[in-house]
């Protein structure tokens, strides 16, 4: 910058920063110092220092201005002080409406900030990885007979094939999620660890977390090595270094080769522990083209042609899958899914972590905006109403010679002051309530997020915008009136009234929509939780057996031990239970004309499973312990599987032979059971086969017969201690764990509940304020009516009537909007309610009740007032 410009800028600034009565000496001093610096330090430095000194001269305002020659130059400061004084007097005089005004805006702003944080968090999923735009997941769709199933994971063969065939691929990554592991630390502590994965060495190029200890490029190379997240490492080892330690994980020994930074929560997997991929050895399942077990990722070169690549991989199966897909009317299609789209856009089954819902994000954004709009409308509305009470003050100022500009400045300034105070209060409320909000949404937001530049800028511009908006009416309209009109008693103008009524209607429409939305979310939740799942869920106690154990020896022992308890009706063992992960394996049918391989869910069970779970056999027979051949040799399948193989009736399925990819055994279908929902009520039932394989059993399910759960639990725990003296007793109830799947919806419902409550609350604040003003304006009218013999109830009606009409209009407007919104939200559920009109009526009723309560409080108060008082006052 040129020396002159900087110097000029400095002195221009000084005009504003230095009080007038000091300007001469201060500017002289600065000039002198500037000149002496000019030669010693050069133009630029001197200019910068001058500017800094000009800025810091603002502190001179702290001086008492009673110094000599300052006299009349300070008029605008006097006025400023005066305005400030008047503003605070008004705040005090109308204390209750001031409180409503400021409080309502603050609550609105806090709600908006919190919702914005949540929305931003949801949108930020999987965008923290370096070059996340180049990272894609490969999911697949399997179709047969017009029935398409979508899998988020694919066969282990995909990654190496892509790397070999497509030059666009820079790198690939395969993961395999393990079930809960039993981890023993060197000092013999036991932990059940979830979120354990086998991961290839390329992990750190996809999920770019820093290694806190160990080397990212070599940590996952050798078999039986493990990398811990920093959280996990400190859980096991505290402050001592984890690297080099030996962990026993499900009875295999692993060496800790590194500790990585915790993977951020906004990732579609949680990683507590990474086992090296090579630990899997030469496992046949990895090479099976039909499995869908391994989440697979590719990183494409920055300049790669993504579309061409996507087209190239779509039909990969036709080249490689060792089966004639076309002849079997089967289709395997591989897709390319940007990693950042997984959380909100994926509709593939079997994600490790429940995905977010784009609809929910939209709904929340809309709610956030709505609440903000309600709060702003409220603020503007109340400010306007408050300003009208000051018509006389404005008139007096005009008579005393105030010009329009100074009136506008005064009112704009006052509104700005209020909105700024609101914002500050909002920040305080935000910090105080954040921990509680974190608990509600299950995310850990830091209060320091307020210090980010976007938020500071946002809040400042919000205060400005709202302040100006709220100051606009009083500033421009009041200042334009003829002062004569303002002194006339009751000379109210009706200019603002239509606008204010429109605002009340707007606020209440929004509130009613929110109430309807909240009620609908909870009803849908209830609906899903109460759904007939097709199996017993009541009093089903599940005991997972973690870590290795000799099942063949223990099997009978377990059944006898638990079966002998008085509280126990049935005991069964299975590989998993409904609502928990069920494995997916390839399954092949040999038929003369139409042999096909499909991927299907396998549940390995023992003889009592069907009985314990209350499954209904609709064709063929159940497993029978009396026939030794049922072990390994037989399948019972569900109706969905029947359909998937193309049989028209369950009976057709009986007698067919299937070959399972899980170990390659063949078995005959002996029965078909009625579909039961083994995943989640918001999904269609997938094909499932049951098979008796005793090595795979790892979970005990106990059906209790008594209502006395605590006693039953004690008995069960004692038996557990006899059977597994070295394993901790860990249990859950089937219905609870099944319903835990809906935690996401429940969370949505709770958040919605709170924010719709806040929205209504803010709207009521506004209504209350307006009713107060209306009652005050009608003080004389009420007084005269009372003198003439009107009853309290008819007076109350007089004041309330107008508001009732407004709210009724609002309710009418809200219904179609709510219908549309609710219908849209419900579409995402396979098993859903339809919009319920009775909920609409309830919501409308709630709004109306709240209105009556809010308005009549004020109306009754004024109706009860002594008419002598109100008529004597000079309205």
């Amino acid at each position: 910058m040129k020396e002159d410009t900087l110097k000029k800028f400095g002195f221009w600034l000084l005009n504003y920063t230095c009080p007038d009565f000091l300007y001469e000496e201060v500017s002289g001093d600065l000039e002198e110092i500037y000149q002496s610096r000019l030669y010693a330090e050069g133009k630029t430095k001197a200019g910068i220092k001058l500017t800094w000194e000009a800025i810091t001269s603002i502190r001179l305002y702290a001086l008492n201005r009673k110094s000599p020659e300052n006299s009349h130059q300070q008029a605008h400061f006097v006025m400023f002080n005066h305005y400030l004084k008047v503003a605070f007097r008004n705040l005090k005089r109308q204390a209750s409406t001031s409180f409503l005004n400021i409080g309502g805006l603050a609550i609105g702003l806090v709600s908006f900030l919190m919702i914005a944080l949540f929305v931003q968090y949801e949108l930020s999923f999987d965008t923290w990885q370096d070059n996340y735009e180049q990272i894609y997941r490969i999911p697949m769709e399997i179709s047969s007979e017009g029935n398409t199933r979508k899998f988020s994971s694919v066969a282990g063969t995909i990654a190496p094939t892509l790397e070999k065939d497509f030059p666009a691929v820079e790198n690939t990554l395969r993961l395999w999620q393990r079930s809960t592991r039993l981890v023993k630390t060197p000092n013999n502590q036991n932990f059940y660890e979830e979120n354990v994965y086998n991961a290839e060495g390329s992990f750190f190029e996809f999920f770019t977390v820093d290694m806190l200890d160990g080397d990212a490029s070599s940590a996952l190379v050798n078999p039986n090595t493990v990398v811990l997240s920093s959280k996990t490492a400190s859980k096991y080892f505290g402050d001592t270094p984890a690297t080099g330690q030996i962990l026993s994980i499900n009875d295999s020994e692993y060496e800790v080769t590194g500790v990585m930074e915790d993977v951020p929560g906004n990732t579609h997997h949680d990683f507590n522990m990474l086992l090296s991929w090579t630990s899997l050895g030469d496992w046949g399942a990895i090479d099976n083209w039909h499995s869908t077990m391994f989440p697979t990722y590719v990183k494409l070169h920055a300049d790669a042609d993504t579309e061409a690549f996507a087209k190239g991989i779509a039909g990969l199966a036709y080249e490689y899958v060792p089966m004639d897909l076309e002849a079997q009317k089967q289709d395997y299609k591989y897709n390319l899914q940007p990693i950042s789209e997984i959380h909100l856009h994926s509709d593939y089954g079997y994600e490790a972590k429940p995905n977010g819902s784009l609809t929910t994000v939209y709904i929340f954004s809309i709610i956030g905006l709505m609440i903000l709009i309600i709060a702003i409308l409220n603020f503007v509305n109340l400010s306007t109403a408050r300003a009208e009470k000051r018509a006389k003050e404005v008139g007096m100022r005009k008579v005393m010679g105030a010009n329009r500009l100074s009136l506008i400045q005064q009112h704009m300034g006052e509104a700005l002051l209020l909105s700024t105070i609101s914002s500050l209060i909002a920040l305080i409320i935000f910090v105080i309530t954040l921990p509680w909000y974190n608990q509600l949404v299950g995310v850990n937001f830091s209060p320091f997020i307020l210090l980010s530049p976007q938020i500071i800028l946002g809040i400042v511009s919000f205060s400005l915008f709202v302040g100006l908006l709220a100051g606009f009416y009083p500033a421009l309209v009041l200042s334009s009136f003829n002062p004569m009109g303002m002194f006339k008693s009751g000379g109210k103008n009706s200019r603002g009234v239509v606008l204010r009524k429109a605002m009340v209607v707007g606020q209440f429409s929004i509130s009613v929509v929110l109430i309807i939305g909240t009620l609908t979310v909870f009803k849908q939740l209830q609906h899903m939780m109460n759904k007939e799942l097709g199996f017993e869920t009541e009093q089903m106690l599940v005991l997972p057996i973690r870590g290795g154990f000799e099942l063949e020896e223990m099997h009978d022992q377990i059944k006898n031990e638990f079966g002998s308890l008085a509280a126990v009706e049935h005991v069964t063992l299975s590989s998993s239970v409904p609502g928990q992960g069920v494995s997916n394996f390839a399954i092949r049918i040999d038929r003369e004309e139409n042999d096909m391989t499909q991927s299907m869910y396998h549940l390995f069970v023992d003889y009592d499973f069907d009985e314990t779970y209350g499954l209904e056999i609709i064709a063929g027979r159940d497993f029978s312990a009396d026939r030794g051949s049922d072990l390994y040799g037989t399948f019972i399948i569900n109706e969905a599987a029947v359909k998937s193989f193309g049989w028209s009736t369950p009976d057709e399925a009986i007698g067919n032979v299937l070959q399972s990819g899980a170990g390659g055994f063949t078995a005959e279908i002996i029965g078909v059971f009625k579909d039961f929902n083994f995943q989640s009520a918001d999904q269609e039932t997938e094909p499932l086969v049951l098979n008796i394989i005793d090595q795979a059993l790892s979970t005990i399910t106990i059906r209790l017969n008594s209502g006395d759960i605590p006693t039953a639990l004690n008995q069960v725990q004692a038996s557990w201690g006899n059977l597994f003296p070295d394993k901790a007793f860990d249990y859950f109830f089937l219905d609870e764990s099944f319903n835990a799947q809906y935690a996401n919806f429940e969370r949505t419902g709770n958040i919605l509940l709170i924010f719709s409550f806040l929205a209504i609350f803010i709207a009521c604040l506004g209504l209350y304020g307006l009713a107060t003003f209306a009652a005050q304006q009608k003080t004389k009218e009420i007084g005269i009516r009372k003198v003439l013999g009107a009853s309290v109830s008819s007076l109350t009606l007089t004041v309330s009537k107008d508001f009732m009409i407004l709210v009724l209009v609002a309710i009418g407007l809200s219904f179609p909007i709510a219908w549309w919104a609710v219908e849209n939200w419900l579409e995402q559920f396979a098993y859903r309610i339809s919009p319920d009109f009775s909920l609409f009526l309830i919501a409308g009723g709630i709004a109306l009740l709240i209105t009556i309560f809010t308005v009549s409080w004020q109306s009754i108060k004024s109706a009860l007032a002594d008419p002598v008082q109100s008529l004597r006052s000079d309205g």
Binding site: E25, G28, E31, L60, N64
Partner: protein
């Protein structure tokens, strides 16, 4: 002897320094000169606006008096404000020094 000072007449550290500097410059002491003086004597670098506030505050307290004058070309023809300590100002300095000496005498390490 009591060394507690009446409220409103106490001297802050910077105020004392500025007052001392003003007193030590025999005449025509104004902000720039005072700033230079303090900077050369103490090696501390100061912002001119803090000198301005301090000088005016000292004047409010009655420790300094001032008059305008001495416009020069290098100041763009603007006048300076000259400051002079009042008797009250000298008293305040003396009092501050006595307070200090008193404490010095109380420190065992400094007594031979």
């Amino acid at each position: 002897m009591k060394y507690l000072v009446m409220k409103g007449t106490d001297l802050g550290a910077l105020e004392e320094l500025v007052l001392l500097a003003t007193a030590s410059i025999s005449d025509e002491a104004y902000a720039v000169i005072i700033k230079d003086e303090i900077e050369t004597q103490s090696g501390r670098s100061l912002n001119i606006s803090s000198i301005h506030t301090t000088l005016h505050r000292l004047e409010e307290k009655g420790f300094l008096k001032s008059e305008m004058g001495g416009a020069t070309a290098e100041r763009g023809g603007r006048r300076k404000r000259y400051f002079k300590p009042t008797n009250l100002g000298f008293d305040a300095l003396r009092e501050a020094r006595q307070l200090r000496t008193h404490f010095w005498n109380l420190i065992p390490q400094f007594q031979n």
